[in-house]
């Protein structure tokens, strides 16, 4: 069976596009071959900066002949129908058709069509130009004289040659001949641009790889990566160093060379005063070099770096290493300049007084100056959500409010929040945005901030996903929660919620972050309260600025939204639910410690809260249900049963820790015999009740002991009183296992009740009383979970 070799050689393809392009080429060509009726045994793609190559083995030499009969109209059909048939079957006259007889239909025409199979070469010659013309490059270009005319060939960079040979192992392969925009396929390629620039004539893949290697081209990108990694490790080791490995960089570097040669360069030790991460990123981003550390060092870097050249230089690479060292030194001088500039005074301190006053900043301190500047520059956070300065104001107020509830020092939380975004205006973060937070922490420590304030500046961005680090220092926790809640409340207010796969502001990640912070730190926190506090922080800012403020931001939006809600009576009816919850949250919050200024105190003080509450509730409920969704995903990933989560969560559940404890307690309870039976009994009671409620049968509002007649119902009633009381107390103490245990004693009397008592008594009063008893069962278990939602 013949093999196909295809090479598309071009000017240098961007490293980041090579792997995918080679994969696309394989998929498009193999799909096309199969569609044309060919089969193949194996296909593999290769790439270098200058070529995409495809090796297809065991391709069938031709597609099969196809025979088919096309039925036509009756021999008596009108001329028009006959002509239509001729066109469809591709016949030139009806004499070419055959006549078949059918006992029912009579005589009709049939065309015997046979299409001979096509030679694979013919198929390939048609397919490849088509693929080249329609190749899915992220960005493509035109070039050369041909580009004077519209519709000229596009490729990622100018396409220079096409090699395409086809043939079985036992014979001399042939060139599959085709041409596209003046480039004619052939059996020739070229070696390394500098080391072996001559022509190479190729027969098939085996000699192609060997000849390329001889011409200083390593075709296989994974092999180039192995070579670079092994050589880099060895070179580092030989110099008493460890390579700082970097898979992303390795992939990129392997796409920049055809003949990798690893060399070592160095810079002055004085530059090691720059933070290691800044050095690494400087050298990586600008020079695409690896850094090293002294053997056994955890953090500190050495002053030696590793570069990957594309040539074996005549002098063994001395000039190359020297030249790269010079550039690295120039870049590190810039980095050192950034690092020291960030620790010095800004030139425009005079203009920053107003901002400094607003945030209580000390303009003698560099990071405080940067925060003042961030505010002063009116950098936009989001067009509808105001500036970064306004956002920091909100976060600081919120972090301060949340701090006492979670046990953090409010002053530290406020200070950390005020400085949290300051590093966005530093030179280093301007150069390397990925260092936001990390640089703020370093600069904060340098100006003598408390360790927890410095840590919070870095950690308030965390966690960034399901497996990222969750902050545990309580100051970090307060600021991290405030940062995320402000985002969520803000984007909810302007109605930029995630939909489907679209979540441009990463709000799901923010909500998951809140969930993980609360659960992994075992925080007792009412989310309803936290959301209300975030809203109030925004409103407080609005109060201060007034209607005419330059940027009304989130607060104006929120205000509009709340007014919208106010008119909607249906939404108002949901308010009662949340109102309770808010009060619960506020009670916990301890009004004495809440609020740092009069406006907030006023806001959280009775009248205004009540007014706002009614309109705010649907907003909170909506956001709360978004948190519930994130929580469910999180708990399911942890292996929790989704039916148990559903049974425990109600629209008003805003204590995430409690939800988790309930799910756990419920899970272990249902594993016991008592649990299983009580579940069955409760479900039975609930089903009866549901049926009777549907029929509108009278159900007594409370159980009347005097109407209890049978022992079984009397003992159930007695047990119920006992169990409800104990379970209620246990729940008060957040001890859900004890609550379950208390309920478990109901199992026996519930079973006896259903064995010995007929609910549907003739006496209407007795029946109503027994139904009330059933309702008590449902209510008692309902204290811990909605049993009707549990499977089984």
């Amino acid at each position: 069976m013949p093999d196909l070799l295809l090479e598309l050689r071009s000017e240098e393809i961007p490293a980041r596009m090579q792997r995918k392009a080679a994969g696309d080429l394989k998929k498009m060509l193999t799909d096309g071959l199969v569609e044309a009726g060919l089969t193949y045994e194996a296909a593999r793609e290769y790439w270098t900066p200058r070529r995409l190559t495809l090796d297809i083995r065991g391709l069938t030499a031709r597609s099969k002949d196809i025979h088919e009969d096309i039925k036509g109209p009756s021999t008596t059909a009108p001329e028009q129908a006959v002509q239509g048939f001729l066109r469809k079957a591709g016949l030139s006259s009806i004499a070419e058709a055959h006549v078949h007889s059918d006992p029912k239909k009579g005589d009709f025409y049939v065309a015997h069509i046979s299409k001979p199979g096509k030679a694979a070469e013919e198929i390939i010659a048609a397919l490849v130009p088509d693929i080249i013309r329609n190749f899915p490059w992220p960005k493509s270009m035109r070039w050369g004289p041909a580009s004077a005319k519209p519709g000229s060939l596009r490729w990622v960079r100018p396409l220079q040659s096409i090699l395409c040979t086809f043939g079985p192992e036992t014979e001399e392969p042939v060139v599959v001949d085709f041409e596209i925009d003046g480039i004619r396929s052939g059996n020739v390629t070229w070696g390394h641009r500098f080391l072996a620039p001559g022509e190479i004539t190729v027969r098939r893949f085996d000699d192609y790889v060997g000849k390329l290697e001889a011409a200083k081209v390593v075709l296989d990108a994974d092999r180039r990566k192995e070579i670079i990694l092994a050589d880099a490790r060895n070179l580092a080791f030989a110099n008493g160093l460890d390579l700082v490995e970097d898979e992303g960089l390795l992939e990129e570097v392997s796409g920049l060379v055809e003949w990798p040669v690893v060399l070592m360069g160095e810079f002055e030790e004085a530059f090691l005063a720059i933070p290691a991460e800044v050095i690494r990123l400087t050298i990586r981003a600008n020079q695409k070099c690896f850094v090293t550390r002294p053997q056994g060092e955890g953090e500190a870097l050495s002053n030696r770096f590793l570069l990957t050249a594309n040539i074996e230089a005549r002098d063994g690479g001395k000039e190359i290493a020297h030249g790269n060292g010079k550039v690295v030194r120039a870049r590190l001088s810039d980095a050192l300049y950034f690092w020291t500039t960030d620790q010095g005074d800004l030139p425009d301190l005079g203009q920053l007084q107003a901002s400094a006053k607003k945030f209580g900043l000390d303009l003698k301190k560099p990071l405080d100056q940067r925060m003042a500047r961030l505010d002063h520059l009116n950098v936009t956070f989001h067009a509808k959500l105001g500036t970064q300065g306004e956002r920091v104001e909100r976060i600081a107020r919120l972090a301060e409010a949340l701090a006492p509830i979670i046990g953090a020092d409010p002053a530290l939380a406020s200070r950390a929040a005020v400085l949290a975004k300051a590093d966005l205006t530093t030179e280093v973060v301007g150069e390397f945005p990925e260092l936001q937070g990390a640089m703020g922490r370093k600069y904060a420590l340098l100006q003598g901030e408390p360790a927890s304030v410095a840590a919070a500046i870095e950690e308030h961005y965390k966690p960034q996903g399901p497996s990222d680090y969750v902050p545990s220092d309580l100051v970090s926790v307060a600021v991290a929660l405030a940062d995320k809640l402000d985002m969520l409340v803000g984007f909810w207010a302007i109605d930029e919620k995630p939909t489907g796969s679209k979540d441009p502001f990463a709000l799901r990640r923010a909500a998951l972050g809140v969930v993980r912070i609360i659960l992994e730190n075992k925080l007792k926190l009412s989310l309803g309260f936290a959301i209300a506090a975030a809203v109030s922080s925004a409103l407080a800012a609005y109060e201060q600025k007034g209607e005419g403020a330059q940027s009304r931001g989130v607060v104006a939006m929120l205000d509009g939204r709340i007014r919208d809600y106010k008119g909607v009576s249906q939404l108002l009816s949901e308010a009662g639910l949340i109102s309770e919850l808010l009060k619960g949250g506020l009670a916990k919050a301890n009004l004495e410690t809440f609020g740092s200024n009069d406006q907030e105190r006023e806001f959280f003080d009775g009248q205004r809260l009540m007014e706002l509450d009614a309109s705010l509730s649907p907003f909170i409920a909506d956001l709360l249900s978004f948190f519930h969704d994130r929580l469910k995903v999180y708990l399911r990933d942890q292996g929790a049963r989704h039916d148990l989560i559903d049974a425990v969560i109600t629209p008003a559940s805003d204590d995430l820790l409690q939800i988790v404890r309930r799910v756990e307690a419920l899970g272990s309870f249902l594993d016991t015999e008592d649990g299983k039976n009580l579940l069955a009994g409760t479900k039975r009671a609930a089903n009866i009740l549901a049926a009777e409620e549907k029929k509108k049968t009278q159900i007594a509002p409370t159980v009347e002991p005097a109407l209890l007649r049978l022992d079984a119902e009397k003992s159930l009633f007695a047990a119920m009183n006992q169990a409800e009381k104990q379970a209620g107390e246990a729940i008060q103490n957040q001890d859900f296992s004890a609550a379950m245990l208390a309920l478990s004693v109901l199992r026996e009397p519930v079973d006896s009740f259903f064995e010995g008592v007929l609910v549907n008594d003739e006496d209407q009063q007795v029946r109503a009383n027994r139904l009330a008893l059933l309702a008590r069962i449902r209510a008692a278990t309902g204290q811990v979970a909605d049993f009707s939602k549990i499977a089984g």
């Binding site: 000017e11 240098e12 961007p14 490293a15 980041r16 900066p49 960005k139 493509s140 270009m141 035109r142 070039w143 050369g144 004289p145 041909a146 580009s147 004077a148 005319k149 519209p150 990622v156 960079r157 100018p158 220079q160 641009r193 500098f194 080391l195 920049l256 020079q287 695409k288 070099c289 570069l307 050249a309 594309n310 040539i311 230089a313 005549r314 002098d315 000039e319 190359i320 020297h322 030249g323 790269n324 010079k326 550039v327 690295v328 120039a330 520059l377 009116n378 950098v379 936009t380």
Partner: protein, 314 residues
């Protein structure tokens, strides 16, 4: 072809030797060797020999040195690598010849960069000029990790598709000279290739100017006047384009005043750069200034297509 030059004029010894070698190389190829454009521009691309001549169907091969002004990059002469005034060597070949990469590598060899000794690389860099409404695909050309040139296949200029595509090479002359002369500070470059008392350094020629212009760019440029100049240049550009526009009864709808109009576009662009360096343009205003310059560039580009050089059939 090789042209014999005296040893002290070799690029490894003299800045002007580097320029002359490139001139010789591209002149030998057949380029028109132009002199710098006599206005302040931010890059060689702004020279009408590139911006305007990249448009339309006519072939065009040119090379020239262009002093480039980047007011914001001034460092009072204290940074060894950064200048508010430096030289670009610009080559434009339309349509790009199929062997443009080889031609470029040949020019490096001509100035003494041996690709078997130095690591030459083409690293992805998609070029875009928002003010000119231009973009292209190409590379940064690296020599031992240092970017020494920019290599671009123009796809669009003044918002107009290039047909055919032009290849543009831009050499950063000071960097390249520092490399071939083995010098770490731009001001130490040997300008004339002489030694001892006859030696003239880059610093002797330009250091004082760098200091003075940094003061001007950051501290003293009259912003109220510049803001006026920007508006004036914008208005003048539009007025000239209108005055030169083909009349409805012309046999040939030819535009008669594109180059003077384009000068005003260049002027507006430089004034904007100065205002930007003075820090009087806010983030939001910045966008709108860039857009205003781009609109001028686009209008000039469209007018150029209505001229002989732009391909209008005579």
């Amino acid at each position: 072809m090789t042209i014999e030059i005296p040893a002290h004029m070799h690029p490894s010894r003299s800045f002007q030797g580097l320029i002359l070698t490139l001139h010789n190389y591209w002149a030998a190829y057949g380029c028109v060797i132009l002199q710098p454009y006599d206005m302040e521009v931010g890059a060689g691309t702004f020279h009408p020999a590139t911006t305007l001549r990249a448009l339309g169907p006519r072939g065009w091969n040119a090379a020239y040195v262009q002093p480039s002004r980047r007011p914001k990059d001034g460092r009072y002469g204290e940074n060894p690598n950064r200048l508010q005034h430096y030289y670009q060597y610009q080559v434009i070949l339309k349509p790009n010849p199929p062997n443009l990469q080889e031609l470029y590598l040949g020019s490096l060899k001509a100035i003494g960069v041996d690709p078997l000794l130095h690591d030459i690389r083409f690293v992805e860099d998609d070029w875009e000029s928002p003010t000119l409404g231009a973009w292209g695909l190409g590379w940064e050309c690296w020599c031992d990790g240092m970017e020494v040139s920019q290599f671009t296949y123009f796809q669009q200029v003044c918002g107009i598709e290039c047909a055919p595509v032009a290849g543009e090479l831009t050499y950063g002359l000071e960097r390249l000279a520092m490399y071939v002369q083995g010098v770490d500070n731009v001001y130490d470059l040997n300008f004339n290739g002489r030694e001892g008392a006859d030696k003239v350094t880059y610093g002797e020629v330009f250091l004082q100017a760098e200091q003075e212009y940094s003061r001007h760019n950051f501290e003293y440029a009259n912003t109220a006047m510049l803001l006026r100049h920007f508006d004036d240049a914008e208005a003048e550009c539009k007025a000239l384009l209108e005055a030169g526009a083909p009349a409805s009864n012309d046999n040939l709808p030819m535009h008669k005043m594109v180059f003077p109009a384009y000068d005003q576009c260049i002027k507006a662009s430089h004034v904007f750069n100065l205002l930007d360096a003075r820090g009087v343009i806010s983030v939001t205003e910045r966008q709108s200034y860039i857009l205003r310059v781009r609109n001028l560039a686009k209008a000039c580009g469209e007018a150029f297509l209505k001229t002989q050089a732009g391909g209008l059939a005579a």
